[in-house]
């Protein structure tokens, strides 16, 4: 092919062309040594440590939709599922604390995992923001099951030799704890059949392969008329579900604060954390109904707390989990 550049000059021509192309591209994406515009000046990575369309993911998307308006930058979901939520947490714990990496945090990866498995991060390696939602953990059976109340269920389990098979979304999870606690307090035997997710467990329940499930959320079936919730591991009855009792009011003190909040790695500058929290507060202030409704649609309840209250709840759960782990003998050495 003939191009009108003399042979000898070809290499230099190519280099010049290359340099031009690179500088054009480089200018397009602001290099980090350019003058710092105020935070945030580019999209923020929201690390989701579970699969797409999980409860964690959907709740974070509802919040991100509104919070990004007050931040001026989008929050982009980056999926790092693995290790029951601990992979994402580990990545954020080690990330650069510049405010552009934030974890969609919850108790399982931040509190439970370091206790039951050997992790190289702790709850203390994160700066928690105020919580925004909670996904209740509850005991679910099929709508047309024989048991209409928790009492019926427990009685039947007591009568069955060998106990019941109860599906959960994994061993060494909050649901597993609920199962063991219920076993202890009610004096029954439930065997944990671990599935990979609440969705899989729900599918098995609907197919009649397990008698009941302890799930986080209901995999979309909360309002579909296919499932019945016998009891929830909550402080008080949930808004909008007047017929669902809590374990506590039925005499079994089982509480799992399954709350969700954003979390920055330790060392993130205070003004960045405050800026983000401020944006979140403003979003909640301006759109309380939309957020509540959006969360409710994906089977979550709004739970707006301050960062201090959130941290307190997490620490309470940490104490509880340590105790549970010791009792069950699953504490990581």
């Amino acid at each position: 092919m003939k191009i009108g550049i003399p042979k000898g000059k070809r290499m230099s021509a190519a280099l010049v062309f290359g340099a031009l192309a690179f500088s054009l591209v480089g200018l397009h994406s602001s290099p980090s040594w350019a003058a710092e515009k105020p935070y945030p000046n580019r999209p923020i990575n929201m690390i989701v440590s579970y699969a797409p369309a999980s409860g964690t993911d959907l709740g974070s998307k509802v919040m991100a939709d509104k919070v990004s308006e007050f931040l001026g930058q989008p929050l982009i979901s980056v999926y790092k599922p693995g290790g029951g939520g601990s992979l994402g947490a580990a990545i954020v714990a080690k990330a650069k604390p510049d405010g552009y990496t934030v974890l969609v945090g919850s108790v399982t990866p931040l509190v439970l995992s370091p206790i039951v498995k050997k992790m190289d991060f702790q709850l203390e390696d994160f700066i928690l923001l105020g919580s925004y939602s909670k996904i209740p953990i509850w005991l679910v059976v099929k709508k047309d099951a024989r048991w209409k109340t928790l009492k019926d269920f427990i009685e039947e389990v007591k009568k069955t030799p060998g106990g019941f098979q109860v599906g959960t979304y994994g061993k060494l999870t909050a649901a597993d704890f609920v199962l063991e606690l219920l076993n202890k307090y009610a004096g029954i035997k439930q065997v944990n059949v671990p599935f990979k997710s609440s969705g899989e467990a729900m599918t098995s329940l609907l197919g009649g392969h397990v008698e009941a499930c302890i799930l986080s959320g209901a995999a979309g079936h909360l309002d579909a008329g296919t499932a019945r919730i016998l009891a929830a591991a909550e402080e008080e009855r949930l808004d909008g579900l007047p017929d669902v009792p809590t374990f506590k009011e039925l005499g079994y003190p089982i509480l799992m604060p399954s709350i969700y909040c954003f979390a920055f790695p330790k060392g993130t500058p205070k003004q960045i954390v405050d800026r983000f929290q401020d944006a979140q507060n403003k979003a909640i202030q301006k759109y309380p109904k939309e957020i509540k409704e959006g969360l409710r649609r994906v089977e979550q309840w709004a739970e707006f707390r301050t960062p201090q209250e959130t941290l307190k709840k997490f620490r309470e759960f940490q104490t509880l989990s340590r105790k549970m782990a010791q009792e069950l003998g699953v504490e990581a050495k």
Partner: protein, 499 residues
């Protein structure tokens, strides 16, 4: 509800200009995503999910669905051209499709792949229309014991995949099973073979393995060959399948459609297993099974049809029962929830426009995809004319970006390179990759199902034999396993090998 009036509803929904546009956009994006290796429909659909918040649910699902089955069209392109599976479901297409490309028959391969996908997609849509609810209820009956038996049957399919030494194929299956155990064990929560690496904690990804084992290794093999040898025969035969090709492919397409459809409905089944199974079926019923692996067009027609009908069959449990059959369906479930649509048995009744609109969009979408893909065949084939010393760095780059884009993880890039080396050595020492991949995909599912079943039955193995579906599947598997040995019982063997 009258079938005709439903069809009328379906087409009235899809032919609204907005929905037609979304369908087209979805199909277009899907095809592109399918061509680009690594980046799959999962990532794209979740990326686009927020932008669907502000359009109607029907349009949103139509577009997202289009991305999903569109990707099945695009995924075969790189498998055929450069032996890089664009999608896990396209791995098996590499076996014969790439060989066809090397023989100058890339055009017919791409063509039969597109046409097969179209026929399969359309047939699958018709089947959804007719038998969705009863099929979905059947799918619900599959619990852990049934899954175990199904996967067991799937593993026996291995024996039909192997073209060479059976012993070596079984060894590769063992390696595949081993690789599948790496990661956090689901049942006990204990980590296996991870050496505390966060990347390995969730297991070795399928994408780095298949791209390394098939794509990178092929490049390495080609570099190794003598300088002047042609990698691809430069005289391109035809651009489209000949009459002979059609005659050979039509039955495989039909069979592949049915195999794929049923496997796609099962939650956890999926397009990957469907494509392997369809290929094995074809090889079994073929009059010349030894041609498979050398460029038999049936080996392209069948799996490509299977993966398309599987991807459409996967919609059934979602739309009729609210149960997602795979990760993509789970995301669509989330999309439905966000749009305030409750999935479950009442969906068809409460939102008929959604259900029938999606079906209508599948018909139109398949037509759009055919029109999109066929004219591009000429363009794709031209790429093969680029001299290999220039082409191969681009192929490598393609793989590197593709793997990185899945999880933004450099370690996975390294895993891919390592498997590239392994794949190269395997080829040189005559070990096959397909049994490894099949075992790698199936064994985690099978192991999980086995252990869940034993928990359910308190340790009793009888659970596999007292449930009718499970019993049937195991019996079929044993039958298939023992069948080749029957002649051996009748006459004395000549040698010592069982090949």
């Amino acid at each position: 509800m009258d079938l005709l009036s439903n069809l009328q509803l379906a087409f009235s929904v899809i032919f609204q200009p907005g929905n037609l546009l979304f369908c087209f956009v979805g199909c277009l994006i899907g095809t592109l995503i399918g061509v680009l290796p690594g980046l799959g429909p999962v990532a794209t659909i979740s990326l686009l999910l927020p932008s669907t918040f502000h359009i109607t649910p029907v349009s949103a699902i139509i577009m997202l669905a289009g991305i999903y089955y569109g990707a099945m069209y695009g995924g075969s392109i790189t498998s055929i051209l450069v032996n890089i599976p664009g999608e896990a479901a396209s791995v098996i297409t590499c076996l014969d499709g790439y060989q066809m490309a090397r023989q100058g028959r890339a055009g017919p391969a791409l063509g039969i792949s597109a046409f097969g996908s179209f026929i399969a997609g359309t047939l699958a849509t018709m089947m959804i229309m007719l038998v969705a609810p009863p099929l979905a209820n059947f799918a619900l009956k599959f619990g852990p014991p049934e899954y175990f038996s199904l996967m067991f049957l799937g593993l026996t399919v291995l024996t039909y995949l192997a073209s060479g030494s059976m012993v070596k194929a079984l060894m590769m299956a063992c390696v595949g099973i081993f690789l599948g155990t790496i990661g956090t064990d689901n049942i006990s929560g204990i980590e296996r073979f991870t050496y505390h690496s966060y990347t390995l904690m969730d297991g070795i990804g399928l994408i780095p393995v298949i791209m390394g084992l098939f794509g990178i290794s092929e490049v390495l093999l080609n570099i190794d060959q003598a300088a002047r040898q042609e990698i691809y025969k430069t005289r391109i035969a035809n651009l489209l399948p000949s009459l002979r090709d059609w005659k050979d492919s039509i039955l495989p397409i039909i069979r592949g459609t049915f195999v794929g459809f049923f496997l796609g409905i099962l939650p956890g089944g999926g397009a990957v297993i469907a494509s392997f199974a369809a290929y094995a079926v074809e090889k079994k019923v073929s009059k010349h099974p030894e041609k498979f692996g050398t460029g038999a067009i049936e080996g392209v027609a069948s799996p490509e049809s299977a993966n398309n009908s599987a991807s459409q069959g996967a919609f059934i449990p979602l739309l009729t029962l609210g149960i997602p059959a795979n990760v993509v369906m789970a995301i669509l479930l989330g999309a439905l929830l966000i749009h305030n649509i409750k999935p479950g048995p009442l969906l068809i009744r409460d939102h008929p426009d959604l259900f029938w609109g999606i079906l209508g969009s599948m018909y139109i979408g398949n037509i759009m995809l055919l029109i999109l893909n066929v004219p591009l065949i000429g363009m794709w084939v031209k790429i093969l004319k680029i001299p290999y010393p220039i082409l191969f760095p681009l192929i490598l780059l393609f793989c590197l970006i593709g793997v990185y884009s899945v999880n933004n993880n450099i370690f996975e890039v390294i895993i891919m390179i390592v498997f590239g080396i392994i794949g190269y050595l395997m080829k040189k020492f005559a070990y096959e990759g397909a049994p490894l991949i099949l075992a790698f995909v199936l064994s985690p599912l099978m192991e999980n199902a086995l252990r869940q079943s034993l928990i359910m039955s308190h340790g009793s193995f009888s659970i596999f034999f007292t449930r009718s579906i499970s019993l049937f599947l195991i019996a079929s598997a044993l039958f298939l396993l023992l069948m080749p040995l029957l002649p051996w019982f009748r006459k004395r063997p000549k040698g010592g090998d069982f090949d």
